[in-house]
Symmetry: C2
Subunit: 334 residues, 2 copies
Amino acid sequence: MFKISPLVTALALTCSISVASAWETLPTEAPAPADNATTAEKVAVGQMLYHDPRLSSTGTVSCASCHNTMLGGEDNRPNSMGVNGQTGGRSAPTVWNSAFNKVQFWDGRAASLEDQAAGPVTNPIEMGMKSWDDVVARLKVIEGYQQAFEKAFGKDAISKDNTTKAIAAYERTLITPNSPYDKYVGGDKSALTAQQIRGMEKVAELGCTACHSGPAFNGAGMFQKFPVIGNSYFEAQYHFKKDKGLAEVSKHPADTNMWKVPTLRNIALTAPYFHNGSIKTLEQAVTLMAQLQLGKDLSKDEVADIVAFLNGLTGEFPKQKMPALPATPGTTFN
Amino acid sequence: MFKISPLVTALALTCSISVASAWETLPTEAPAPADNATTAEKVAVGQMLYHDPRLSSTGTVSCASCHNTMLGGEDNRPNSMGVNGQTGGRSAPTVWNSAFNKVQFWDGRAASLEDQAAGPVTNPIEMGMKSWDDVVARLKVIEGYQQAFEKAFGKDAISKDNTTKAIAAYERTLITPNSPYDKYVGGDKSALTAQQIRGMEKVAELGCTACHSGPAFNGAGMFQKFPVIGNSYFEAQYHFKKDKGLAEVSKHPADTNMWKVPTLRNIALTAPYFHNGSIKTLEQAVTLMAQLQLGKDLSKDEVADIVAFLNGLTGEFPKQKMPALPATPGTTFN
């Protein structure tokens, strides 16, 4: 089901917030919905499913192909490459800390990680499965999945609902705490350099954190217009407005170019930037955000300070085991 | 450099070998060449490189994409899918136990794992990099690789040579010992079922192990013609002869349809079968091998027994950690 969060708001972009009270560290555990408590068994099968390319029509694309858990949780491409080399128009958001997003996808069209996980599998240019019935039929053939689902959910438990629940449960473990920023806010004043602290102060002073607020710097489900300030020069180069964002799904003219505020956590690892991945470097992304959202031209030093601070939002990545995917002995889907 | 092993021979296919002396267990360590001793540091950087899609032009294809270390060491596809959805004509061989192949690739054109690793990266339909200079230039930009190479090889060590050495060192750790077969040969007579033992005896009696010999059942670098027995009916269906095998590289008519004998280790996990992946099931592969190589029609029970035995060649997969790939903070190659 498609739901739009009531948090679609138009905060004053120029508001400045109190530095002292605003900085929050990242929680080390993510909340789970009442009907999908995180358990080790769900996480185990979810990790397998997340990395299994057999959830795609060609057997070549897994969730991890575009949201790579060995990298910054995405693919460092302007857009992702799905089955048969197809590409879409948006840049893959990071899976790291996505548990702290109130809504998922760039346009926020999924209300939960569970809802999100259901989408790409049957998207013809992403994982290309014809239907979830086909996905479930595949999984039921794989004895190792029968056992893993039984451990997580009980007997005969392979279904679309439990598949997306398991993937979401796994994703809730993909948290990157203890960034230099978190250590600094937690009291270790040597965790950030002087330049990073200048950048942090500048970010607050400019009002970046009015939208990129909260422990994940993601506005807790807030939507914002991007770009705020029209400019035909930039538009000709980067085509930011071509994709209507939330309006593509809601069909409301007022939602044109409205986007979920994306997290700044691990932003240094997720180039290229913006919804269409048209901006290759973090320097340019910071420069453009100030121009297009705030109408400000930052100095080279200010940009460098902010970029240094943003590098301080790179967290510690949990050590993961590589899942062994259960086999279909003596046969194949492809 | 391209070298053909002197082991290209034409063994009598009908020769039967002594069962008692022929069965060997898989070594738990693979020999390394004199100039590339296996070290933990090389294996660590090799594991990262092996799983890094940034070794491809699009940033979407790593060694592991087609030789999947979470599955049976390949992709369970008739052919693999390289950059931009391109496909070739051959089925990806498994990386598991490839350290025990005397030569690499289906046509044996690489004399070592190091030589093999150099190939796909610049193949336009596989990983699509323009040149190894471009690969080395990319790796040099990544600070984490500078450090990892330094630990493994010393200062300023990023080069084509060391990249392929590291990948090969990692691949030499991808060994799957302790299959039911190994346990049985090692003295645990309950490790194989009665049906599997019948299949094992049938395999020896038929002479399968004349070619699929040695601990890895791979003929230790032997080449053989496939198919031996021409049959226009099968050819029309499966096009086995279309690909000339060794002759495609050697250009010698005598090498037409000659292939490196592939391992039978973990064969149950590597469907579909044969060089062009045209055979979907292990049952059919066994049936056809008897017809096309030995001129024998096996009964349904004989096929079932052999398939049961081949399932007993599935080994224990080493537990691996998932590598964290070093970043390019604030920028990207794609």
